[in-house]
């Protein structure tokens, strides 16, 4: 018996909610450092703060053991400039990363920290029990494997071994190791608690952050966390423009539960956000999922050649050693993106569908590495590989069907902010990784244009130690009872009704508004109509939201985050009166791309609940090397304590 309808059939009634329900009941917790979000960034932040001897509480909406985009696994440890095989200078590499995309990136602080410290983090991870080397010599003879260190260097960004910055890792071992270490260090973990709002000192928007509130999504209990410092480590939203659970998930990297709650609560608390106008198009895949891993064409497939139905090689890039056909760095025909060349070829009959990843053409060890290690360890792919294997797929014999051309790109109105780099986030204009609010830090997915596992790890690790230093100098702030009462009223409103509008309909309604009014095609009047539409939803439909149990209450609150996040995107889109190639931002009424006077970050924040737009120049983080060194004179490298 495995489904509720089978239960009903046998028992004659549906199952009773299995957890005690304690709506409105309050639990108060006091801590030094409060970490919101227990994914990769959150676990690292908690560990790093706890190592400094302060009290740490970690709040996780799911279950820390596997939660977050990197919870199930990861196969690449990118931008690892200090690894012994690296051929790049960390400061130069960081500078290059910070200057990518016209300078609209997660910024100099995050990139410098990442490039300086992520090898240290990797070694610490290994010391905690994460697997980062081929210690059993399983892949001996594979290109990029170093026999001395047993590190497996990836061909990613690595034509002819000219960089060696990416290490292949066994990331499915990471999350359990991190959680174990956090618990060992005395971090108090609160699983199944959705953080819903921040507490400002005295309840004043823009004042120091002195804690957070949340609700347990199994029991409905209200949680109040008082803290000296709070670190936001939650996920960005995964489904602003397209929402459909019926198609089995939304994207490869983001579960339905990832709804941008962190950025939304920071905004409401008065923090500055930036690049909120940036979007991309949604990467679709088979059944909306596994766009890369089940169908070839990603970095994890880095050295698999893609062929057509007759075995003819496609002119699309793959990242083979020395092939100069890097999936991300190089390749393609001059003047045309490679997949457009393929599309033209298909229409002319030059290439026959379907396409395949040609595993049998690879040397055995390379195919083993790609199938077993790279795909097997990446994100949620272990179960995909296991399923294919159990069904009889054999990479020595079989070619894996590729769906990239058919499903790879969505319609332009099906936009996304889930892809790495394709979204805004919380502004960090501070070398301690503090936000614009005192007491509030932000890392990982909370940063604009982030989305990489090791960036989350290293920024989490950095902010944890900085927040720990801060809390040693300051007392607890004063929380405001009225702010708590207002949040309780907001949070529990949906459970006071048993009919009206369910969370899915609300979410889908918001998504449709975004498709209509904030798509590839943007004008002042369309965007204003979009804002009116969202405001109308807030006014007329949000009060009708109903939730039948604590889980659906959480989903309802997530839909409210989606609504607020959408408003932020439209406000930011209205503010930028120019198009931008780098922000994937097209204004029909301001068609000029990246005119010099608009080459700047726009910032967004609430002041007395009114939207306030500000700006920062490109490169506002200053000299990265000098600043990093100035602010980290006490940094001691790999953790050596107990």
């Amino acid at each position: 018996m495995t489904s509720w309808q089978e239960y009903l059939d046998k028992e004659g009634h549906p199952p009773v909610w299995p957890y005690p329900v304690n709506y409105e009941k309050e639990q108060e917790i006091e801590t030094d450092v409060l970490v919101l979000g227990g994914g990769i960034a959150g676990c690292w932040a908690a560990i790093s703060a706890a190592r400094k001897g302060v009290k740490v509480a970690l709040v996780e909406k799911s279950a820390t053991i596997r939660s977050g985009a990197g919870g199930p696994g990861v196969d690449h440890w990118n931008d690892c400039c200090n690894n012994p095989l690296s051929k790049v200078n960390p400061d130069e590499w960081a500078q290059r990363l910070a200057n990518n995309s016209g300078g609209y990136t997660c910024g100099g602080v995050a990139r410098e920290v990442q490039c300086r410290e992520n090898y240290d983090a990797l070694i610490e991870l290994e010391n905690m029990g994460g697997k980062v080397r081929d210690t059993e010599d399983k892949y001996k003879g594979a290109e990029g494997r170093d026999d001395k260190t047993k590190f497996m260097i990836s061909p990613r960004y690595n034509y002819n071994h000219e960089t060696n910055t990416v290490i292949r890792v066994w990331g499915s071992t990471f999350k359990a190791a991190l959680r174990k270490e956090a618990l060992r260090l005395g971090v108090k973990i609160y699983d199944r608690v959705m953080a819903t709002g921040l507490l400002n000192e005295g309840g004043v928007q823009g004042a120091r952050v002195v804690g957070a509130m949340g609700v347990n999504n199994r029991t409905g209990e209200f949680m109040i966390f008082k803290s000296k410092a709070t670190i936001l480590c939650m996920a960005g939203p995964g489904s602003i423009w397209v929402f459909n659970t019926e198609l089995a998930g939304i994207t490869t990297f983001r579960s339905r539960a990832m709804s941008g709650d962190g950025q939304v609560m920071a905004y409401k608390a008065g923090a500055e956000l930036t690049m909120m106008e940036k979007t991309g198009t949604l990467n679709l895949g088979t059944g909306f999922k596994h766009n890369w891993y089940g169908g070839a064409g990603d970095a994890s497939y880095e050295n698999v050649r893609i062929v057509d139905a007759n075995g003819k090689a496609l002119p699309v890039p793959y990242e083979g050693w020395g092939s100069n056909l890097g999936q991300m760095a190089r390749g393609g025909a001059p003047g045309k993106p490679p997949w457009e060349v393929v599309r033209d070829g298909v229409l002319k009959g030059e290439y026959a569908l379907p396409f395949y990843g040609d595993f049998p053409s690879m040397p055995k060890v390379e195919s083993d590495v790609t199938w077993g290690l790279m795909i097997g360890e990446e994100a949620i792919c272990r179960i995909i590989v296991d399923t294919y294997n159990a069904s009889g797929f054999d990479p020595r014999r079989d070619q894996l069907q590729n769906y990239q051309l058919i499903e790879g790109r969505s319609m332009p109105q099906w936009r996304s902010i889930d892809g790495a780099g394709a979204r805004g986030g919380i502004l960090i204009d501070d070398w301690n990784m503090r936000t614009s609010l005192e007491g509030l830090y932000a890392t990982g997915d909370q940063l604009p244009a982030s989305g990489d596992h090791n960036l989350a790890a290293t920024t989490g690790r950095y902010s944890g130690r900085k927040a720990a230093d801060y809390v040693k100098q300051i007392a607890q702030g004063k929380i405001d009872k009225a702010q708590i009462a207002a949040e309780k009223a907001r949070v529990y409103d949906p459970i006071k009704k048993n009919e009206g509008m369910d969370w899915k309909e609300l979410h889908a309604g918001v998504a449709r508004t975004m498709q209509y009014f904030c798509s590839e095609y943007k004008t002042e009047s369309l965007l204003k109509m979009g804002l009116d539409s969202l405001n109308e939803i807030a006014e007329n439909y949000v009060p009708r939201l109903f939730a039948l149990d604590p889980h659906k209450l959480m989903c309802s609150l997530e839909s409210l985050s989606t609504l607020e996040y959408s408003r932020m995107i439209i406000e930011a889109s209205l503010a930028r009166k120019a198009s931008s190639k780098f922000l994937t931002f097209d204004r029909i009424d301001y068609p000029q791309q990246d005119p010099p006077e608009w080459n700047k970050f726009l910032t967004l924040k609430l002041e007395n609940n009114k939207v306030k737009i500000g700006e920062r120049p490109l490169g506002f983080w200053g000299n990265m090397k000098e600043n990093y060194e100035k602010y980290n004179q006490d940094y001691t490298g790999v953790y050596k304590g107990k």
Binding site: S3, P15, Y388
Partner: protein, 96 residues
């Protein structure tokens, strides 16, 4: 006696991300690992969990990965997600 027919809404699609077999001892480890609470524990101790929110499944597979009993829980891909492959030598096409 005729089987009792209940009046219930359509089931969510997809409705069954995993299949529990008789080997499941109802330890609920999968319930605790699942990041999106697809499951709830069965009210009767020792029985396989109940799939309550199947359409929220992220297909991360962590429940299957966490299970300590070989064959107690099996992943069940929705039809539209079942990928194909081809035997390079014979051209034979198969599907998960």
């Amino acid at each position: 006696m005729a089987k009792k027919i209940f009046a219930v809404p359509n089931v969510a699609t997809p409705s069954r991300p995993v299949i529990f077999t008789d080997k499941c001892k109802g330890c609920n480890l999968c319930v605790e690992v699942c990041p999106v609470d697809v499951y709830i524990p069965h009210p009767e101790k020792g029985k396989a969990p109940i799939i309550l929110h199947p359409e929220e499944c992220w297909y991360c597979g962590c429940c299957v990965g966490a299970c300590n009993i070989e064959g107690a829980i099996k992943f069940n891909w929705p039809l539209q997600q079942r990928g194909y492959w081809k035997n390079k030598a014979t051209g034979e096409v198969k599907r998960v």
